[in-house]
């Protein structure tokens, strides 16, 4: 036994090129380095970091509060006192955008966390067990996907009086469908692999196979869809708030600021009022999309720099 071993070791050592003898990079390291080589993704990450930090530290960045009215300072153009001008109640628009960002990002992140969790659980169960369970769950998903989501959201929001918490529940309720489909498709291809078979023959419980053996392998697509999903939720929240069905004034949100701004006189005299909140939505969603695309390429082993 020992003899064979030594022979094997020496022959492999001889074959190995010294350069290949180093420890291989971990999957995580490869993905991170691929991500940071993608210019757009890095730009997105930088912008998003700035946006998140300035939303968190809003009280330090501005001398005003978002609800502070000053009727003498109505509709002032951008200046050193009011970086992005003031609105029709003399409130500082820069301040309201920062505080509005807190709400939009909070709603986006919590909703995506909730809906991706539900989607991953439903998708894994459907994909792993297949058969009748799969059919029932996927028919439910198909049906919900056939109804225009915005209509369902609007109906539910009007049935329950709108508020941040209810908005998040409703986003979670309809947000998991896409993730469920995606995870199910991943599971369908992964569940027949050898490592799953070997885990099953060793008597590992189903729950443990699903969550500790298969799910980690499906993490790439899940993270990508979650990143792109935050942008989608921010857009939807803005649309609902614009319609007056989302975040309610006086709490500022990017969407309800735009609702205030749709007025003939304002549009004629105060271009900054409808421009900046929308620009903020655009930059934020664009950042999430860039990061999401960058992550997709980074997770894809077929794409090499």
């Amino acid at each position: 036994m020992t003899k064979i071993n030594t022979v094997n070791e020496s022959s492999t050592e001889a074959l190995l090129n010294p350069n290949l003898n180093r420890k291989p990079d971990t999957m995580f390291k490869i993905i991170v380095s691929k991500f940071f080589k993608n210019k757009l993704a890095v730009i997105g990450l930088i912008f998003l970091t700035i946006i998140i930090l300035s939303a968190i530290f809003a009280p330090l960045l501005t001398p005003y509060t978002p609800e502070e009215q000053s009727l003498r300072d109505r509709l002032l153009p951008p200046s050193s006192d009011h970086l992005l001008g003031t609105d029709k109640f003399g409130r500082d628009i820069f301040t309201r955008i920062l505080y509005g960002g807190q709400i939009s990002l909070l709603v986006g992140f919590i909703s995506i966390l909730g809906s991706v969790t539900i989607g991953a659980i439903v998708g894994s169960i459907a994909g792993y067990f297949g058969g009748i369970i799969d059919s029932i769950l996927m028919r439910i998903v198909d049906t919900l996907l056939a109804v225009p989501t915005l209509f369902l959201l609007i109906t539910l929001v009007t049935i329950f009086t709108p508020g941040i918490d209810k908005l998040i529940y409703i986003f979670i309720l309809f947000g998991w469908l896409g993730t469920a489909r995606l995870v199910r498709a991943e599971f369908l291809s992964l569940r027949t692999r050898e490592f799953v078979l070997s885990a099953r023959t060793m008597g590992v419980k189903n729950r443990s196979i699903i969550f500790s053996h298969i799910l980690p392998n499906a993490m790439g697509p899940i993270i990508v869809s979650a990143t792109l999903g935050v942008g989608g939720i921010i857009l939807t929240e803005a649309a609902l708030s614009y319609l007056g069905l989302g975040i309610q004034p006086p709490i500022p949100s990017w969407g309800n600021m735009l609702q205030d701004a749709q007025n003939y006189t304002i549009m004629l005299k105060a271009w900054w009022y409808p421009t900046f909140p929308g620009l903020m939505i655009l930059i934020t969603v664009l950042s999430f999309n860039f990061i999401g695309d960058g992550l997709r390429d980074a997770f894809d082993p077929k794409i090499n720099e």
Binding site: A146, V147, L150, F151, T155, G231, A238, Y242, L258, P277
Partner: protein
């Protein structure tokens, strides 16, 4: 092919049943009973009983559901809770032409522009103009369409006065087709913008793939003019993924139409839905959810069939 179409329609039936269930029960969970919405609180108790009997509100819930579906199949969507009980179908028919006009115009704009830009970019990949259009479609995907609408209203309608700020026609002017088109341009363009961005990216990537195929090289080698190669040999194959995308984007087209109609005060079904949500006019809400879903289901079937027509290699 025919058996595929029939099978496809049959699988849509459980979907439609599910959709009616969703829209029925979503309204059932609303707090408060329907009588409180409808009548003044001082009504005599015997009148209230009459009302409940008339609308079958004391029936078990599943009977109410079947009655509702049964009436709907016969084209009776019930009456509005407001507006003196106008039939819902009448309200819908009044608004339907406006929405259809808007959607068709938007779809035509989206398809024409995305094919032109997509093909143009695909024939010059990684050129400056390709980057310019790619940036444009990235921006288009991230722009909230209601904000794009607001910006266009602000710059081109309010300040430059090139276009009207909203509505379908000038109120005091006689009917003219030019006036209608003049009102249609901005909302149709805004509604088209999001889809345009998505279609352009897909047309571009699928055309790049197709243009590298052997049969394209053969066609070129035969000496065919490059325009003919691109549009006759390339485009038909490059369009298949875009057709699927069209089916998938229908829900967002319907939802997007609602917001765009609201921005431009366009009296269509989307703005009817939003108005009814504010006033909690449940019969209208339920009817519109069902109708828009049916439209989406049918649209998806049509997209699937079109897919087979465009790509003869697909067999069912």
């Amino acid at each position: 092919m025919l058996s595929y179409i029939i099978r496809r329609i049959l699988t849509a039936i459980p979907l439609l049943i599910g959709i009616t269930l969703i829209s029925f029960f979503i309204v059932q969970i609303a707090p408060g009973d329907p009588t409180s919405l409808l009548m003044n609180p001082d009504i005599k108790p015997e009148d209230k009983v009459k009302f409940i009997e008339k609308y079958g509100l004391d029936d078990p819930i599943y009977i109410q559901y079947f009655k509702w579906v049964g009436n709907m199949v016969q084209g009776d969507f019930g009456n509005s809770l407001l507006k003196k009980g106008t039939p819902v179908s009448e309200m819908i028919m009044n608004r339907l032409p406006n929405t259809i006009t808007l959607m068709i115009a938007a779809t035509i704009i989206a398809i024409i522009f995305s094919i032109l830009i997509g093909v143009y970019s695909a024939t010059r990949p990684y050129s400056k103009s390709d980057y310019l259009f790619s940036t444009g479609s990235f921006l288009g995907l991230a722009t909230p369409n209601f904000w794009l609408g607001l910006m266009l209203i602000m710059f081109t309608a309010v300040n430059l006065e090139w276009f009207p700020t909203g509505g379908v026609a000038d109120l005091d002017a006689p009917f003219s087709i030019w006036d209608r088109i003049h009102h249609l341009i901005l909302p149709a363009f805004v509604l088209a913008s999001a889809d345009m961005a998505a279609y352009t990216r897909h047309t571009r990537s699928s055309m790049i793939e197709v243009l590298n195929q052997d049969y394209i090289r053969t066609a070129k080698a035969k000496g065919l003019r490059s325009r003919k190669v691109i549009f006759k040999h390339g485009l038909r194959n490059g369009l298949t993924p875009v057709v699927t995308l069209f089916g998938l984007s229908l829900p967002s087209l319907v939802g997007g139409a609602a917001i765009v109609e609201r921005v431009f005060a366009w009296p269509g079904l989307g703005s009817l839905f939003i108005e009814s949500s504010f006033t909690r006019d449940y019969p209208v809400i339920m009817a519109l959810i069902v109708l828009s879903s049916v439209f989406i289901v049918i649209g998806n079937i049509v997209a699937d069939i079109l897919y087979a027509v465009i790509d003869p290699r697909i067999e069912y």
